[in-house]
């Protein structure tokens, strides 16, 4: 593809916004904040992707889906790059995606608790459920944590004391 025909980075971003997260298909990889950069190196399109959790098995699937999407759009010269730094944080999950998560039944990450350092984190955790996670089904704030680990690396298991339903919480990291 000659440089005259190279799609603009802005257009690439809109294509990437069509790639869903394989485990939570209501949100896209761009809404999750895991696509870090789109750039050209000569004729090669380079897309930098960061993993959510370092052992997340969805990472390889996400790479494949991104490649598939861009090939489908006619990109031939493509390289995916894994970027570790700065490490992914739930602060990068967009406001729009948080609403979609809630509608899907997953309580979105609570703002401002991801990169607050260990001492603040320890203080918060010592208060057990000091952070308020609203039930995605009935909206009640009367909820409790069952486990910090859930059905995927990015989620914790919670329960609503009012509607009694268990639910996933997209935990802060």
């Amino acid at each position: 593809m000659s440089s005259a025909l190279q799609p603009e980075a802005e257009e690439i971003w809109t294509w990437l916004a069509e790639v869903p997260d394989p485990e939570i298909p209501v949100v896209s990889v761009t809404e999750l904040g895991i696509v870090r950069e789109v750039r050209y190196e000569g004729d090669t399109l380079v897309v930098a992707v960061t993993p959510t959790y370092s052992g997340c098995p969805a990472t390889a699937v996400i790479d494949l889906m991104i490649e598939e999407k861009l090939r489908e759009k006619g990109v031939e010269d493509l390289r995916l790059e894994r970027r570790l730094s700065p490490p992914w944080t739930t602060d990068w999950v967009t406001a729009n995606a948080r609403e979609k998560l809630r509608a899907f039944g997953i309580a979105p990450p609570v703002d401002g608790t991801a990169s607050d350092g260990m001492s603040a984190k320890a203080a918060r955790l010592s208060g057990q459920n000091a952070l308020t996670v609203a039930c995605p089904r009935c909206g009640s704030a009367n909820t409790e944590r069952i486990s910090q680990f859930g059905s995927t690396p990015c989620k914790a298991a919670w329960r609503c004391r009012d509607c009694l339903e268990p639910f996933d919480y997209f935990k802060c990291i």
Binding site: S54, G55, C56, L84, L125, S147, Q148, G150
Partner: protein, 270 residues
């Protein structure tokens, strides 16, 4: 394990020939501790005492395998002989493994599993925090920063369980104390420096282990006290050798299981 190349953050340490043998060895220690503990932890998958703990153990194991990919991937780059994380994980024999004896011991009951995780996590968290902020190697510090976030959750959970089971029933207390007494002599290895550790300190890549030891002892003692458990004498006997490749008989059995497929069917992939 990982097919995509990491973007190469500039790092002079990676190509420093004088540093190479020690740096490679140290990276193998980081990767092998994560790999062997991850494997031990994964043995609980489908066997946890309750569903939530089963899931938590599987997630913890997954994080550790993720860390293994990063550390052994970098080790392969530093070595410069074309070995990737898979080659290092699946095609080295026991004497080439550099993990602590602590992490290769059999998983035991939940008390042993969680006490070991707690003792290791407390060390792991302090180490990663230092590396992410202070290491002279940008590649090391970016891996540490990534892993630290996950290990914060491991340490929170392990501390919580040590307190709940230690200060629980007479039976759970007895099991936790037995686990502590069994594992304690294996913790000294984490803080016993050799020439590799000293080379890493000199290069500014890794912290002085004595400094780490005093912080570790303080944080571990706080939790053990809350758990009503009695910590053995810190100056007591320490089992050593894992970091230099002298292992217990248990490692060979782990490798036999973990490496079987790649040994029997070289190059097999999903």
């Amino acid at each position: 394990m990982s097919e995509m190349p990491t973007n190469a953050t500039a790092d002079a340490a990676v190509t420093d020939q004088a540093l190479q043998p020690a740096f490679f060895d140290w990276l193998c220690r980081m990767g092998d501790n994560a790999l062997v503990l991850g494997h031990r932890t994964s043995e609980w998958c489908g066997h946890g005492p309750v569903l939530e703990e089963d899931i938590a153990l599987a997630n913890t194991a997954l994080d550790l395998i993720g860390h293994t990919q990063m550390w052994l991937g970098l080790a392969g780059e530093v070595e410069g002989k074309g070995r990737d994380a898979d080659a290092l994980a699946y095609l080295r024999d026991a004497m080439k493994f550099r993990n602590f004896l602590l992490v290769e011991l059999p998983r035991g009951d939940m008390a042993v599993t969680m006490m070991r995780e707690f003792l290791f996590d407390a060390y792991h968290h302090l180490l990663l925090a230092w590396l992410s902020e202070n290491s002279s190697s940008p590649r090391v510090s970016e891996i540490a920063a990534k892993a630290l976030k996950e290990v914060s959750y491991h340490l929170d959970r392990a501390s919580d369980i040590v307190v709940r089971l230690g200060d629980g029933t007479a039976e759970s207390h007895r099991r936790m104390q037995d686990a502590l007494d069994l594992l304690w002599p294996y913790t000294g290895e984490m803080f016993t420096s050799d020439e590799v550790d000293r080379a890493m300190v000199t290069a500014g890549i890794a912290p002085d282990l004595e400094m780490l030891r005093s912080k570790w002892e303080a944080s571990v003692r706080d939790i053990l006290e809350e758990a009503t458990l009695k910590a053995p004498d810190p100056g007591g006997y320490a089992h050593l050798g894992g970091k230099q490749g002298r292992h217990t008989e248990h490692l060979g059995y782990i490798l036999a299981e973990m490496q079987f497929l790649q040994r029997a069917y070289p190059g097999a992939s999903w």
